[in-house]
Symmetry: C2
Subunit: 215 residues, 2 copies
Amino acid sequence: MLPDREADTVTKPAERISRRQVDKFEERRKQLADAALQTLSELGYARTSLREIAQNSDFSHGVLHYYFRDKVELITYCVRQYKAHCVLRYDGIVADAEDPDALALDFADGLAATLQEEALLHRLWYDLRSQSLFEESFRADVADIDESLERMIWRIVSRYAELSGNAPTCSSAMAYATFDGLFQQALLRHLAGSAIALDDLRAGARHLLSHVVCA
Amino acid sequence: MLPDREADTVTKPAERISRRQVDKFEERRKQLADAALQTLSELGYARTSLREIAQNSDFSHGVLHYYFRDKVELITYCVRQYKAHCVLRYDGIVADAEDPDALALDFADGLAATLQEEALLHRLWYDLRSQSLFEESFRADVADIDESLERMIWRIVSRYAELSGNAPTCSSAMAYATFDGLFQQALLRHLAGSAIALDDLRAGARHLLSHVVCA
DNA sequence: GAAGATCTTTGACGACTGTCAAGATTTTCT
DNA sequence: AGAAAATCTTGACAGTCGTCAAAGATCTTC
């Protein structure tokens, strides 16, 4: 029988057990979601099957339905986990530089670094974002990630403006749209084998940053 | 038996016939590709099957293998047909305005118009572009479309710079990346039901255009 | 160490996929 | 009109998919 997954606030002995079970349950979900994310980032959404995911894990395909109701719930869970990863990653970039040029440099390097190191994950992100336009189940979570990315970009932009004593010339949405376009195009070229894609991204990001504040 | 599809340069009677057959053959391919594009734009790449495509046409599913070797060739053909459509569409926008503000206005309106009228096709485009990162078969054709879109944008930008007596401040690649990001974000919001997405796109395009030339 | 809860594997199901071949139908040419 | 070529339909194939139930394995608890 499935264990009771209710979270308890009181801590009686029986509930400590339940808590431990819940933790273990949740751990397995994360572990399986990791395998799913790896599979997705390799094959793309269209070609990822549950059996393929299971083969990238230590378990057989049947176990996926023990930890997830169906495929949609698994992938939704993956998207959320990916988001947590993203936020963590970008919080690192959040520029504690004290002059605008250093900030721009750090930011540009940070973008280029994640593009290079996690190219497959970013490829997956754009795949899933496209997918969310067809499959409504993912839409809310994807929009959520998009918003947190927008906030991340806006933190950089407004901090940069502040350091250079100016005000941003465009909205948060527009700043995100343009930086995202830059990043996506760089990813496309990088994955197509272009050697200059990373440098172009660095240069482009600094250029764009200097143009979204008053001249 | 399959007819001979060789194109002839000389025009003997027998070859005129063959030519007519070739034309008919090519016409059917276009017709089927149309049905395929409609299906793709409705369901997305991941959920489009040959039988589904056939149901959106006047034929049965078997006929697809009479006109196309396999699914990949059909979809590649679709991508090319979509490109032809795009180029045609954007050539219309190509701004014969004589002052920069009118050009900017026409361009912004053109972007917003195609976003609204052909939202599903644009959705498909971003889906296929993501797909091309996983499926190498499409990569070349997708890159081809991307390049022609970049040229289209660059024609606008450089013409705008010329009319306003300035020079562009960024590369062609960067101009395309940012405008594409803007467009994609507008599409996301528009399809998610945002009423202001179109107006934001118009404003954003004009804003961006005025910032990619010397101040 | 036995009983029971929990976790995992296995194998099956119906539905769906791309592909193809055989035959029916239509068009074309003489 | 009749033969030949071209076109289209039908039905089947082997494979894969998500899902699920039953049984086996492992762990917990007393």
